[in-house]
């Protein structure tokens, strides 16, 4: 993978009152990569994603997505960029008043480029891609299980064929089986469709099995960003606790990248 970074964050400061969440943070993602963002609870992963998505304005620093400075470019360009990415929110954020079908069809209808028949076919393809039964197309989000919500939200995130996909805690709240299946799904889709993935997660297994690179968010910045073996070798209290505790070692022992060492 070569070319300019898809996401490029430089010198980012995020401040809420007295609370400094990010202090001079740098972070970048290359095209086609899967990058995991790990960090303790409250370390500012969701906030960083929200900044990159342009939902919040950084206190200081620059954020470029697809090479465009998000917070200073003109609104028309920003709108175009927003169609090139897909987001899976931490809690799904499905529109509760719309059925599963309408949730996925909404972004397509917004384009005003395709007729209803065509949209129905595309929605069915997407539902099929995330492994949802067609019977659930008319179900309301409130009647879905947690895992199904994640799948539908993923289908909605992918419906505009994004080049860049953000996943916030994609496996939180799923049982180990389901989360493994979900990770496998994301990995398969990533291989097939070749999009770039930025994923915030707590889940070691998820991270180890899909990431090309791991960025560790601690002390209000990205302390290290690299392949799994590079990260594990880096000396930092959070990394020691997180990766080299018992749970961490169990997950790492399954990782192919480290077995060769």
């Amino acid at each position: 993978m070569s070319g300019a970074p898809v996401v490029d964050v430089k010198g980012l400061w995020t401040v809420y009152g007295d609370l400094v969440v990010h202090r001079d943070l740098d972070f970048s993602v290359m095209p086609g990569e899967v990058v995991s963002l790990v960090g303790g609870s409250g370390s500012g992963k969701t906030t960083l994603l929200r900044q990159i998505l342009g939902l919040e304005r950084p206190h200081r620093g620059s954020i470029r997505v697809f090479g465009v400075p998000l917070h200073t470019c003109d609104p028309g360009l920003f709108k175009k960029i927003r169609k090139r990415w897909g987001v899976l929110f931490q809690h799904g954020a499905l529109y509760s008043a719309l059925s599963v079908f309408d949730n996925i069809a909404l972004p397509l209808r917004e384009l005003h480029a395709f007729d209803a028949d065509f949209i129905r076919d595309i929605v069915m393809v997407k539902l099929d891609a995330v492994g949802m039964d067609k019977r659930h197309a008319s179900t309301m989000p409130a009647d879905l299980s947690g895992g199904m919500i994640k799948r539908v939200a993923l289908a909605r995130a992918l419906v505009l064929e994004p080049e860049l996909v953000f996943l916030d805690e994609p496996t939180a709240g799923l049982d180990p089986d389901r989360s493994e299946a979900f990770v496998k799904l994301v990995r398969d889709l990533h291989i097939k469709l070749n999009f770039t993935v930025v994923m915030a997660t707590h889940d070691l297994d998820t991270m180890v099995s899909v990431s090309d690179r791991i960025a560790v968010l601690a002390d209000q910045k990205v302390v290290v960003c690299g392949r799994l073996d590079e990260v594990v070798r880096y000396d930092h209290p959070f990394i020691r606790d997180f990766f080299l505790g018992e749970r961490g070692r169990r997950a790492l022992s399954a990782a192919p990248a480290l077995q060769t060492n």
């Binding site: 090139r84 509760s96 008043a97 076919d121 064929e161």
Partner: protein, 380 residues
Amino acid sequence: MQQTASKPVRDPDVQVTAAGDGAHVIHLSGAWDIRALESRGRTLQSALRDAARSTDADWDLTQIQRFDHIGAMLVWRTWGRCRPSRLQLKREHEIFFGACESAAAVASSPAAPDRFPLLLALGRGVWAVTGHVLEMLQLFGQLLIDAATVVRQPLLRPWREFSAAIYKIGAQALGITALVGFLIGVVLSYLSAEQLRLVGADVFIVNILGIGIVRELGPVVCSILVAGRSGSAITAQLGVMRVTEELDALSVMGISNTLRLILPKMAAIAVALPLLVLWTSGVALVGGAVSAKAELGMSFFQFFSALPAAVPEVNLWLGVGKAVVFGVLIALIACHFGLRIQPNTESLAAGTTRSVVTSITAVIVADAIIAVIFSDVGWS
């Protein structure tokens, strides 16, 4: 999504060339992804359809630079949802047609039209209203049982909720009810004064204002304000609690929704509304007196000393009693619609609207019924 291509990406294009043996070859080239199709979807669709007329065409898709599900679906539908016999395709584009194949869309048959739509609508309407009334009766019964429990077990009494509700429903509404009451008093007094002066019956302004405000306008106007203000708030609050599963959280802790949430609110409205009505009627009378002084030159002392003779005391009790009934109605309707809200935002909006409209209608209907029942009470 195959960007970073070395060649510049061209616009999507369809070209038909004739092969040697009289057959046609259809070449697709350029970018066939959502970004390109967004603006040209319809024209390309018709171009494809024109090209595909001849049944035994060769399809050459190898010149496509970018491809995705949207582009694949466009082509797939032109093919009539099955692969043509002669097709050249880049290997990495194979998966997009694989996805179209495996998702072979089921055509959902539209529901058969109803045969007697009007009759059906009428029946559904009657059925819905009956359901609402029965459910409200049930809720009211449950509240009576809860009230009995609370009387027997003082520990259960939800005093905090009760006092909080009194503050929100009563104290915080003092300003708006006073403003509305005062203005109604002024306007009513002004209009009546104009007419009374014509027939020289100035003193009767006290009777008109006294009876009109204390018996009718005070209770009704105040109840409508409270229905709009607090009724909607109660419905929305219960509805959001349903959406966020807080109602379920209370139930599983063994805390009764009706006892903790609804009973205190109903009791608070039943207590606060009569007091608000007294306040509103009082302020409206002051407004009337101000206007009477300006219009007819009647002094405040004259106005208020004539009031007890003009308006028998029973009118006051009638007004207060009506307020209690209206309060219970408003609370019951607001809670009923709040509890029925489904866990989605659309239902929340519809439920709140319906709650306010229903409670205002109910107040006016109840007022008419009470007016008929007490038609020979309270005249001097």
